[in-house]
Amino acid sequence: MKDLVIEVRDFRKTYGNFVVVDGISFDVKRGEIFGLLGPNGAGKTSTLESLEGLREPNGGSLRVADVDPSREPRKLRNILGVQLQSSGLSESITVDEAMNFFCAYHSVDPRYDLLDRLGLTEKRGTQYHQLSTGQKRRLALGLALAHNPFVLILDEPTAGLDVATRVELHNIMREQQAEGTTIILATHDMAEAEEMSDRIAILLRGKIETFGTPMEITATGAGLTKVSVRTESSSLSDLGITFPAVSQRVSKDEYSIYFSTDIGPTVSAIIAHIEAEQDRLIDLRVERPSLEDRFLEITTTGDAQ
């Protein structure tokens, strides 16, 4: 089995003269959760739909587990599970019927165990339109997993879900990952992307603007790291004290808060100062820029350009 499960090479998608995806390339490894992020209209949906075999590329190549999505739809449907953003189900279909229907077309036995796992056992006879948003999302995930796909595409899997359901879905995603399933996660929820993804690509106007692990992405850019310090005495209260790489200082709730462009020298100098003043450190918190901060930075800078 190849280590690279999804291979996107110079992929290009146009609608008439409008270029939606402009020659992007990336790989996704086996058992990886890959976050595909971007503002609306960045080309995410076209990329996902081309990987799902719903659209044909206008250039470049796409491979999903060695299968060409647009030319080998029969092979693709056996290895790919997709949780669509839109329902994709008839309003009057019951939970049981939906499971039977899709499993029949995949030639596998209905996975009632998944309905149980997703907390839908009591809803098996309920029609789709009578389910809550969370139940609909859970059913969509259950149907996507029913034929044990090798690759899973999740489009906004936790949109509109309560915290408990969201955690449960994240657990299921991690279990799938542990079993070797490769997952592409498209989401507008940056916290979810940061928490779940092994690597992330941020698309902007049809191009990959940045690519890497969440850590790598948040470490780059102009984002300032927030250092909050509380001491027993008031050794930091003098506004005249300066520390290296600090661009801004504020006070709040007995904390002195520093915004640093280079965290190492800043923290070392603060601790050295506290010790020199024979003060005692009570609390020190370092908050690096979040993925959301970085995403906003990338997309707003990109838009300005």
Binding site: Y15, L54, S87, G88, N100, Y105, Q127
Partner: protein, 269 residues
């Protein structure tokens, strides 16, 4: 095979569960049948001779033209076909299975009308049951085919209403359901031969009810079957999983080819 049976069973239940489909498959045709059965024979006693075929043709028109296209467009716009494509549901199943389940609902409605009309209204029963069944199937296939075609080429549910009414309303006025074909002016009669309802009433009258046909009744059956098969073929050819940003395989105007057998029939029958 299991997938087909599963799909068929689900679609059949949808035809009863979905309020709009229940209305068009059962409530509207049977309600109209009861109303007409009580009113029309009192106004025109001769109407009784064609009550059964007229009400069956009406039921077919309502369940197909007024329900099937909208069902298809709604499913496409809701992304259901995209999900079907990803999960390997073939385009032919998406089109043929709802048509078949509609025919099964129609069979039930036709049986209710055929059994109750002689009891409730003293309407004459068919004299040739085989031809009666054959004409029913031909009309159901023709209307289901046209309805699928309307659903496939219509960009929105609003357009399905327009296209469907373009066939439904003339069928009610000129199709021989309320007003016999021989009472129409010549030109109107010829134009009415473009409608499946006219061909079906002619075939029912000439082949099954013993009333006498106005033109070649077997020709009408052939026209209905040919147009139905042509419409099914065109619907599958022109079918699109989703209308946004996808290339059409053929121009929607190709759908008019399904009317070719009727047009030829005007000159030959």
């Amino acid at each position: 095979m299991s997938a087909f049976i599963n799909h068929f069973s689900f679609e059949f239940r949808t035809g009863i569960r979905n309020k709009q489909l229940l209305l068009m498959n059962y409530l509207f045709p049977l309600g109209f049948y009861l109303m007409i059965g009580f009113i029309m024979p009192a106004i025109n006693p001769l109407f009784l001779d064609t009550l059964i075929p007229a009400m069956i043709v009406f039921a077919i028109l309502a369940a197909t033209l007024l329900a099937l296209p909208d069902q298809l467009v709604t499913a496409r716009e809701d992304g259901i076909f995209r999900s079907y494509k990803i999960n390997g549901v073939p385009a032919s199943s998406i089109l043929i299975i709802p048509a078949l389940t509609t025919m099964l609902h129609l069979l039930i409605v036709a049986a209710i009308i055929t059994i109750t009309a002689p009891i409730l209204f003293d309407a004459p029963s068919p004299v040739n049951w085989l031809n009666y069944a054959l004409t029913f199937i031909a009309m159901a296939v023709a209307c289901a085919g046209i309805s699928l075609l309307i659903g496939v080429v219509s960009p929105s549910t609003r357009m399905t209403v327009l296209w469907s009414q373009l066939i439904f309303i003339p069928s009610m006025l000129l199709g021989g359901l309320m007003l016999p074909y021989n009472m129409l002016p010549d030109v109107a009669g010829k134009i009415s031969q473009l409608l499946p309802a006219t061909q079906a009433m002619n075939a029912f009258n000439g082949l099954a009810m013993g009333v006498g046909a106005d033109f070649n009744p077997w020709g009408s059956v052939i026209v209905l079957v040919l147009s139905g098969v042509l419409a099914f073929g065109l619907a599958i050819y022109l079918f699109n999983w989703d209308r946004h940003n996808t290339t059409q395989r053929g121009h929607p105007i190709m759908a008019l080819l399904a009317l070719l057998p009727y047009a030829v029939g005007i000159f030959l029958l």
